[in-house]
């Protein structure tokens, strides 16, 4: 038990050191702009189809489930409000982050892990390049930019999914759905809905990089690092959400 706690604390300490160095490097030369744009393309554009798909179906599912419950009380006209608030405050950021974590925390960990076990990270250091500057900071910046954008897209597509159910099954007009959804949202909701993906981006990128950098034990180690990166980043997404939600309760 003591060993488990010790290793957990050591990992958390490593995470904090990595985060400190990665953020410090944002303001230090050299800047690898090409790498940032490549990562934005890989993570942002690459995740777009799946984010659209899941956003759309989460809107549909939410519309169906909430619609059924609201119809029981004759309150189906509230569907726009409920879908908008649930998606923007909670499900949009969390579902998008979980998808991006599954797709990209694993990708980051496996890419950096492979570089670690084939001594490319050591080679980088030996050849005068800080691997945190070259590998971690560009991924951190890229995710901090693209995850909020992906979340906005997921929210919007989810609202469209909810609208289709409302119009098709609950006999609510298109314009009523959108106006009630729009009126339900206050600035605090939007702030919360954008703060979360920003924090999730930090977690996903740094956890992926941390487990990649810590990889040992050849290809088996790469597989282990990949799994750990996804599991740990997913857990932290829920932990952070449960800490943020009370602040906006």
């Amino acid at each position: 038990m003591l060993d488990f706690l010790k290793s957990w604390i050591e990992t958390f300490q490593e995470f904090l050191f990595l985060a400190a160095r990665a953020f410090r490097n944002i303001f230090r030369s050299p800047h690898y702009a090409d790498d940032i744009f490549i990562q934005m393309d890989v993570i942002g554009v690459g995740s777009l189809p799946i984010v659209i798909l899941i956003g759309f179906f989460s809107g549909i599912i939410m519309g169906l489930q909430m619609g059924r419950a609201l119809t029981t009380y004759g309150a189906q006209e509230q569907i726009g409000q409920i879908v908008a608030i649930s998606l923007v405050r909670e499900f949009g950021p969390v579902l998008t982050a979980l998808l991006v974590a599954g797709r990209n925390a694993s990708g980051i960990a496996s890419e950096i892990g492979s570089m670690k076990v084939t001594e490319q990270i050591d080679a980088m250091r030996a050849l005068g390049t800080d691997p945190i500057q070259k590998l971690v900071t560009p991924r951190l910046i890229a995710l901090m930019v693209v995850l909020p954008l992906l979340t906005i897209i997921a929210d919007f597509i989810g609202l469209i999914g909810g609208a289709l159910i409302s119009v098709g099954l609950l006999n609510i007009t298109w314009s009523f759905y959108w106006s009630s959804a729009w009126r339900a949202l206050i600035y605090q909701d939007l702030f919360q809905g954008l703060l979360k993906p920003f924090l999730f981006a930090i977690i996903i990128s740094l956890v992926g990089c941390l487990y990649g950098m810590r990889t040992t034990g050849g290809t088996q180690g790469v597989g282990r690092a990949t799994t750990q990166a996804v599991v740990v980043s997913s857990i932290w997404i829920f932990v952070i959400t449960s800490f943020i939600d009370p602040l906006f309760f």
């Binding site: 490319q120 080679a123 980088m124 050849l127």
Partner: protein, 279 residues
């Protein structure tokens, strides 16, 4: 600074390094001067690779001091180490080639990234090496390892032996005074392995480079100690007298258990040391 210190490129003073309870280096001490060669033998896990990594600060020793080019680099920050690492070429055991870059970009990487080197190579104060200069240097170095026709290929598209030669090219492209070779012949067929050693001898004797060669093959050390590159004929030929320029190390469980010339190595009666001597 005395004469010895000025020509000394690397010194380990009682260096120890442990991973958990396993000693990677156990009170290792040695010194080598410019132009000298050290051939390091040892079983897998005996600390050979860790010795090389510790020499350039990729691993920090738990105790002892590492002196590189007269500077105590033991407690250097990573940023300070970048400067001194520009004077050391390294061929990694796994190659360490960047698989996202083609061979030309891999070899050009040190020229582009070693800032100190860039400053040193500024010409008439008008900036670092031009793109054309870098291209020419890359081609010249790849020709040196007989791979001038593979510029645009990726590491995954060439054989293991060719990857090692690209690794050698990348290690020596900046013409460092010290080059560390980690198992350059491991897993290669005898013909390719001999070609690699010939390239190391050629590199060492063309520029009087100091080198540490980690290897499992006695033949590699024997060639390094007894052959030299003749720039007139462009061939490798038996050396008349090596003197003490090539010394042999044998490592066991992190300890340096033998240090001496090839003659002394052959004469050793130590059971472990004798395992590495094959005629």
């Amino acid at each position: 600074m005395d004469e010895t210190a000025t020509s000394e490129v690397l010194r380990f003073k009682d260096v120890s390094l442990r991973f958990d309870e396993t000693p990677a280096l156990d009170h290792v001490s040695f010194a080598m001067n410019a132009g000298e060669t050290r051939v390091v033998f040892g079983a897998a896990g005996s600390g050979k690779t860790m010795m090389l990594k510790t020499a350039v600060g990729l691993e920090k020793p738990d105790s002892g001091r590492v002196i590189l080019f007269g500077e105590d680099v033991t407690d250097f920050q990573e940023s300070a180490l970048f400067k001194i690492r520009a004077k050391v070429g390294i061929l990694f055991q796994e190659g360490g080639l960047f698989d996202s870059m083609n061979i030309a970009d891999n070899v050009a990487y040190p020229l582009l990234n070693q800032q100190v080197l860039n400053q040193r190579t500024r010409r008439n104060g008008d900036g670092p090496l031009s793109e054309a200069d870098i291209d020419a240097k890359v081609l010249q170095t790849l020709n040196f390892v007989e791979l001038g026709s593979t510029l645009q290929k990726y590491p995954s598209e060439v054989s293991g032996g060719m990857r090692r030669r690209v690794g050698i090219a990348r290690a020596v492209v900046t013409e460092p005074p010290l080059v560390l070779y980690d198992s350059p012949t491991a897993g290669l067929d005898p013909i390719t392995a001999n070609l690699i050693i010939h390239l190391l001898i050629k590199e060492r004797d063309s520029r009087n480079t100091a080198a540490i060669l980690v290897t499992h093959r006695y033949q590699d050390g024997h060639l390094m100690a007894n052959f030299r590159y003749n720039p007139d004929s462009g061939q490798i030929e038996p050396a008349v007298a090596d003197g003490v320029k090539t010394k042999f190390f044998v490592m066991n469980e992190g300890r340096l258990v033998f240090e001496g010339t090839e003659t002394e190595l052959r004469a050793s009666q130590d059971v472990y040391v004798r395992k590495f001597v094959k005629y």
